[in-house]
Subunit: 349 residues, 2 copies
Amino acid sequence: MSRPASVTIEHVAAAAGVSRQTVSRVINNGPNVKPAVRIRVMGAIEDLGYVPNLAARRMGGARSFLILAINDRQRTIDNWRVGRGNDWVDQMLHGGMLTCEERGYHLLFELIDTDPAMARAQMGRVLSALSPDGVILTPPHTENLELAQLLQARAIPLGRMGSSHMPDGINAFMSDFDAAGAAVAHLLALKHRRIGFISGSAQYAASLERVRGYEEAIARAGLAQAEGFVQYGDFSFDSGARAAACMLSLPAAPTAIIAGNDEMAFAVLHVAADRGLCVPEALSVISFDDTPGVRFSVPPLTAIRQPISALAATVTEKLIAASTGTPMDGNFVLPFELIRRSSTAVCAA
Amino acid sequence: MSRPASVTIEHVAAAAGVSRQTVSRVINNGPNVKPAVRIRVMGAIEDLGYVPNLAARRMGGARSFLILAINDRQRTIDNWRVGRGNDWVDQMLHGGMLTCEERGYHLLFELIDTDPAMARAQMGRVLSALSPDGVILTPPHTENLELAQLLQARAIPLGRMGSSHMPDGINAFMSDFDAAGAAVAHLLALKHRRIGFISGSAQYAASLERVRGYEEAIARAGLAQAEGFVQYGDFSFDSGARAAACMLSLPAAPTAIIAGNDEMAFAVLHVAADRGLCVPEALSVISFDDTPGVRFSVPPLTAIRQPISALAATVTEKLIAASTGTPMDGNFVLPFELIRRSSTAVCAA
DNA sequence: CAAGAAAATGAGAGCGCTCTCAACGCCCAT
DNA sequence: ATGGGCGTTGAGAGCGCTCTCATTTTCTTG
């Protein structure tokens, strides 16, 4: 109630009858503070409503308590232009922010261009300005090794979401390989023999992993890999529609299609409707991601749910740990989930 | 290339042969710097790749270059739990962040509880820790006047998104009244005479505005206000379904329904399908918001598009202006859009 | 119970910037 | 010329915190 604008560490120190430094030790949970003193200081903090100022803490040479989440600028702009959301953001907010909150950190979203030169410049600027304690890269920046180097040069812990097989950093992802396998297994169990796969852009390691998982599951089932059953799109509706049209025009068309993301799965649904193919009676469809809209498509899509919130939470947590303690890189494989809805059924053929 | 970790203002000053203070004037676009000197300093900044450190600038007693965007914690958690996204976040990211970027500011999302006591405490903590230059409130916190007071006490500019008729602050919103009127007008033009309205929670001023707009448009058309044609939900699917079921069970059921958000509109679609009512042949549906999933419902929904990105951009811009120059409150009414898709058609009855 | 080690505390400097204010030029009017 | 005024520059202090290191207190242990 005193002066709401600024209760500083000095006020607390005075109130508790200790030095600034002791208060600092208490708020940082440092060692070597007598229990009685600690309690007294915490009492003073409570009474005065003291909250350490982040900027000052950063200036003191310590941590900034800032975690940067890097999203793609182009994608954000493009998605908006076509009325599409960035399905990751809100879930990242959930997982990342709640984790930050617990630890007194703050999550800061930044947009960075896809173009490597731009990305480098922007990243450098942001790092200098904010001096974050950790940076989370999301696709497509996960694949940008130059950014990783930039961070390494400044000794800033790096995390990635949804990207596996990276040489460094903290990487949280689901097993794309297994997820594709699970999708195939689900369809095989429904007696499907002709299963198509519409992959996302081949430039993403995750896409290739999924294709591998698909192919291996097909092979393991003793099925031959049919010509044209794997198509590459770019995650967009149009590319999905093209791929679906192509696949469904095959002499022996697939009776089930797995799409690399929800948007392309919607496109499959659309193309199927155009051709009078009922889903799931005449064609089963599985999508990857399971973003919010999926529940309301007709029929609602069976989908592989990517645990985005959990990925964000994991990366954030490890990043904070890395920034305080010893650097600890590593891979964290989080479970996906196959959500069964109404777009898959027993093969009629 | 020198020492990537920290090029400070001092280095630039030395390189340009001027004092720290002059460099400061240049980066802050201050007056009273000779053009030749300004150019020389900017050259040095460029050469050294100098980026002012935000924490230090804040410490200097100046701005923090941080804009806080407050979202509801409960809603974020709940939405996630039911697999729903927070449709606002990604669009806010688009509008707010791009605006911040231009001005060298940063957008920081924070979650705050709905409960007033919690909200007050959390807000106080965040303000002390971050000392932002501006705060953006989103629903439901827009309605919390206590938060507004808290900000006023600290002289931090306040903005609100999607909330009208507020006594203070910078408020950007669409005309909910007009939007509801436009929805009604669209249906009237399609010869509908029995039009229902499923409102969101009555605790939101925006909801009431929409009901007012609806009622006035109905009255202006010379139509009587039928019993049970206005129902209140809480923006959830279930509440929308309940309201729709109720309305469609009326002796003289509406031939068109306007829903207060997309989620409730999906519920109307669902209930209609259950009862064998074809949309749009037997029932026209219009929704509010036009979030990404709307395009993929069956049929795709005709909707009032809320300009969330533009709202965020406007509030952010005005907030930055307010924090630098004179405090300037005011209302900024942004245009909505009626997006015609396939859920509305000429009345068959 | 002394003496050394370990724990607890405080003092001082400094992080990178902006603030205030004093000092320096410069141009014009007298 | 010569002073007042303005535009321009720099010096010094300080923002709130943490760092390092010196100092004091407390606990061991022979």
